[in-house]
Symmetry: C2
Subunit: 368 residues, 2 copies
Amino acid sequence: MTARRAPTHRKPVTLYLSAPEAARLIGAKGLPACLQGIADCIAADFLRWGDFDKSARVASYSPGGAIELMPIADDATYTFKYVNGHPGNTRLGLSTVMAFGVLADVATGTPRFLSELTLTTALRTAAMSALAARALARPDSRVMALIGNGAQSEFQALAFQHLVGIRELRLFDTDARATAKLTANLEGSGLAIVACISAAEAARGADIITTITADKRRATVLGADMVAPGTHINAVGGDCPGKTELEAAVLTLGPVFVEYTPQTRVEGEIQQMPADFPVTELWEVLAGRAAGRRTRDEITLFDSVGFALEDFSALRFMYGAARQLGMGTHIELVPDLDDPRDLFALLRPTLQRAPATACDDAAQAQPA
Amino acid sequence: MTARRAPTHRKPVTLYLSAPEAARLIGAKGLPACLQGIADCIAADFLRWGDFDKSARVASYSPGGAIELMPIADDATYTFKYVNGHPGNTRLGLSTVMAFGVLADVATGTPRFLSELTLTTALRTAAMSALAARALARPDSRVMALIGNGAQSEFQALAFQHLVGIRELRLFDTDARATAKLTANLEGSGLAIVACISAAEAARGADIITTITADKRRATVLGADMVAPGTHINAVGGDCPGKTELEAAVLTLGPVFVEYTPQTRVEGEIQQMPADFPVTELWEVLAGRAAGRRTRDEITLFDSVGFALEDFSALRFMYGAARQLGMGTHIELVPDLDDPRDLFALLRPTLQRAPATACDDAAQAQPA
């Protein structure tokens, strides 16, 4: 039982970061620094797009929503995210989107880091949006319309303030309480806030339009007539089959950029378009292999659905930050065995104390 | 910040069961009772095969091994398992197979139970093997050959003792230390043990032959000439592309039974056979829709690779047992929010204390 461990013995320890600990970590580093750090990780990972074993996420759909697994790996690191989308959850006091994920060693399969990703997903989605806007929006963009003022809206607002240079937000939500909540949360941020009575009013004069509503249906949050020349559209809310936010005509106003084409064709705004509708993958723009915005008057559109690589980048950032700050707790998610071929050793101490039952003569006689 | 919660508010609490706690749970209930309980859950779930949203597992292959996600759901419950397979891990002091999994509510996506599954997988694989043998082996089977005496062999031995009625084991492993470890672990179990010098010797006189070796290659652990009429073969070790244990001719000795055909054609022993090689799914036998063993002299073969439904059943059993015994700890894997549309509320208390940086003017001015 106390066999000497080989000098090569590695402990399969997993660092666990809970939701409250992730909030403390973000507080300790500062939210803008975390948004910037995650954006930097995403940019670095998108530039080595070819290194990743990519696949569309695996979704399990039910009448109330979807549960998805999003795996991805390079030669050294594997990650996956579990994430749900249940629009009816808020009526039960639960979040529409809840998530967690794991980062593991490809070489051994050891899970190294288990983290909440509900909060982290909001940061990474906003960081991704800001990164796309830096490549696609006019560099002098200062005014953003934010249509949909729910759980993720603060993160979009602050990412665009700190990473893109937005100074004024024009807000609209069908629920005025959501707009009031967002306005209160942004108080003191330095952002000028204008609450609007319609999406059309919000879009008026905006350099960037972000749509991030939660309804699970084909909605028309934004029509083509609301979009002025030179606008960048950051379409975030349409992200699963049957859930879109844009009038189809909006998709024909200018070039459409996506994360990972096979997934976006099923889940994004372009699910409304034919299968050969032309799109450009954002990594190609970041890598200088494809054009982003070509003229000041062009209307650009980022059809964002959220791709596993962004969670890979976010997990990598949070794992590094947690270790740097000494946050999180070590857990035995997988057993630490003296002899890995002797899994049964885990049970030996406990089986000696096991209750005997009629068909259970082995349990009491088990040797140490 | 302290908004009153709606009466419908549900806490998204996750019960966490670590590897050491799972061992204590199994000790408290007794290993035979756990094997029986998991087998009962698997049998009940296999009988409602049509209720499940099934898919082949999602694998990420690397030179050293594989990391897989195995999701499955019925109308009420979703589960997935993370599991790796890295044959070289034992040289590093790590297990070849490590696993964990989650059980979640389909209606809301809330993760209810996070559990180690390294130990639990060994139990569920053995319970599945025993369940198949009860349907396919001769009822008077008393002698089992156990070829491959690694981490899972004790669990196979004890499941077949307690659930099938095996009284004698004939052991073989290319590594004599593995056989010695298994023999020591089974001391006092009541099983008669015969250590053999070859697979052929182990197979001689056996009513059931279990192959459960770990080499990641096409091996021939068992040849057709070693299999006597009336034998049931429990082929467990061949479970991913390029990893098989049986001479192809063994597969033609009698009817072959599988868990989930699309997955087994890729991962099981039948990967050696044409795509239309006839197989019967075990659930059909359990449901009385297909014949199992038809004669005493027939050779039956269970080509086991491990299917997500078995982990669903095992997670269901462990979750119930942990709650019954008050074991495990409650963790905040996903945040518990007063207002689910106000995810940003998690950050408000922390951002007040955030360090100011040059580009970080929002962090210090954030209101409570």
